[in-house]
Symmetry: C2
Subunit: 322 residues, 2 copies
């Protein structure tokens, strides 16, 4: 489970459920949970909820865009495990005035995104809402056991890499809030493309240790990796691939970039980078390195132009709804 920053609540829930048998499930708390199904195969599962007024504004996003994005952000978590999305279940709570045209356009967007990656809709629920639109998507992915990438697998010495430029979605969100819904960045924010083929390809690379998707900003998403791998990390400021028009803070904390964040065995990083670029035509950006933690404090430092590393002096916490 993940969410709005009430990590104490989430931890207490996980603790509470310790008394219930796992029934074969692993990796609870990662981007997805994992169920090995035999024959070296596993299924992965993830759920996301999108709420009107919190995750989207019906005045600023079309129903089509909201449908499209609802599917995309969910299967991004599947790709982040090295898995291929195969199916979703969709539950929709709709105010009366959203039935009819709005719900049809929503489904058209959801369908276009699903069709693009051959993801079948296999269940769900529709219900009335007395208030706003509430959308819940559960995605199911399939993966070879050996290709599963977990947040907890980063090793000291690893190179930290990202699969694309950062901060465009944050710029796009500002555009949208200013009423400019047609800019290039606004489109990236409203209808994000996710990296399904990249996730699946990176899953198969033994050189890749830990992986997750960048949904809350790397300041927050990398923190999950260092916490769960019990390491620290240094980001080299001048290496960050900042999207045009974005600030350093957008790139670190903007959220919703839906690129992949990974750590790579150092001696294999250059080779992986070359092969990634050959495969996808876009670079794999090295942005830093995994380092030994001090006194079991797992933290992220920023290496500045002068070579100095600043730890903990910044209040970045990723994107929070609260």
């Amino acid at each position: 489970m993940k969410g709005y920053g009430e990590f104490d609540f989430i931890d207490s829930v996980r603790e509470m459920f310790r008394a219930v048998p796992d029934n074969g499930f692993e990796g609870i708390g990662d981007d997805c949970s994992v169920l090995p199904i035999g024959g070296d195969e596993a299924l992965v599962f993830t759920s996301d909820m999108l709420n009107e007024g919190v995750h989207f504004l019906t005045e600023r996003s079309s129903a089509y865009q909201i449908g499209y994005k609802s599917l995309m952000v969910n299967i991004s978590d599947v790709a982040a495990m090295g898995a291929t999305p195969v199916a979703t279940l969709l539950s929709l709570a709709l105010p009366k005035e959203r039935f009819g045209e709005w719900s049809k356009e929503f489904m058209r967007g959801y369908y276009e995104a699903s069709k693009r990656y051959n993801v079948k809709l296999v269940g769900g629920d529709t219900t009335k809402s007395d208030t706003g639109v509430c959308i819940s998507v559960t995605a199911i992915g399939r993966v070879a056991m050996g290709a599963i990438k977990r947040r907890s697998a980063a090793k000291v010495g690893d190179v930290i890499a990202v699969t694309g430029k950062l901060g465009a979605s944050a710029v796009g969100l500002r555009d949208v809030l200013n009423g400019k819904t047609e800019t290039e960045n606004a489109k990236i924010h409203l209808m994000p493309e996710v990296q399904i083929a990249e996730g699946s390809w990176l899953g198969k690379q033994g050189a890749v240790h830990a992986m997750c998707d960048i949904s809350d900003g790397i300041a927050s998403d990398l923190q999950h990796i260092v916490d769960e791998s019990r390491v620290s990390a240094v980001i080299v400021e001048r290496s960050l691939p900042i999207a045009e028009g974005a600030t350093l803070e957008d790139a670190l904390c903007g959220g919703e970039d839906y690129r992949l964040l990974l750590t790579v065995e150092e001696s294999l990083a250059d080779d992986l980078s070359k092969r990634f670029e050959q495969e996808f035509g876009t670079p794999l950006y090295s942005i830093g390195r995994v380092v030994k933690p001090n006194y079991d404090v797992y933290q992220i430092g920023i290496e500045q132009e002068d070579g100095k590393v600043l730890y903990s002096s910044f209040g970045w916490g990723g994107y929070h709804h609260f």
Copy 2:
């Protein structure tokens, strides 16, 4: 998918997704969809959404009761397939004032229900809501391929049976709306018990053909069976096990009874009934029979005291949110 009665919308969505490959999934549109995973085993999947003001009132139900019920109604769909629930994903949208005590009590109820049936919580999401509470649960079940019971498997001549008395939840809902939240029936409505062991046991019985759970009232749930099996059905009015205090309409259309509705090979019905009672200490009630449809119209008739069968003369449609 199922829902509030907008079956046209649901049909159009199913039609839309015909162009996307099934990826191994079957039975889309039943209580659960089914994914065979090899070795004669399958997983089943279902999602439900519960919305404040529509499915529950926070003034009338405690957070604990809402949590308990959210899990129960979902795993009832799993039991209805003959499967055993193994895990859920839970997404929660909460207004600010529902964090803290309310959310803890909700989770305590959800946990108690999960623990009771050894269902692990393996993922989910928490998010802010600007309006009311919205709850989405996806349940995963496990079943032997040969034990899966589908709505489409009813055969002409089958006996129709239910696993318990009907209408108590409808009486309980009236009690709750009248402020009497402590009556026996109110408790049945607020914290329904579901028939996990019964579903799993009935799944293993070859005598059982079709099965579903009674969530919308048998008038509606049996209609799904007759539609998908391309048969008609006659309910014998005097055979209906009506709960104390309930009316005929409560029993047929009240909804939320969460008993199981099944059709049984006629020659094996008496034996099954005996063994069910031995196993669970409660009767399996025969309430009617599956009959040949007239002119491909799949309908439900009621056989009255005088032996006359009335078709289509009643406006029962099960429980609708709209």
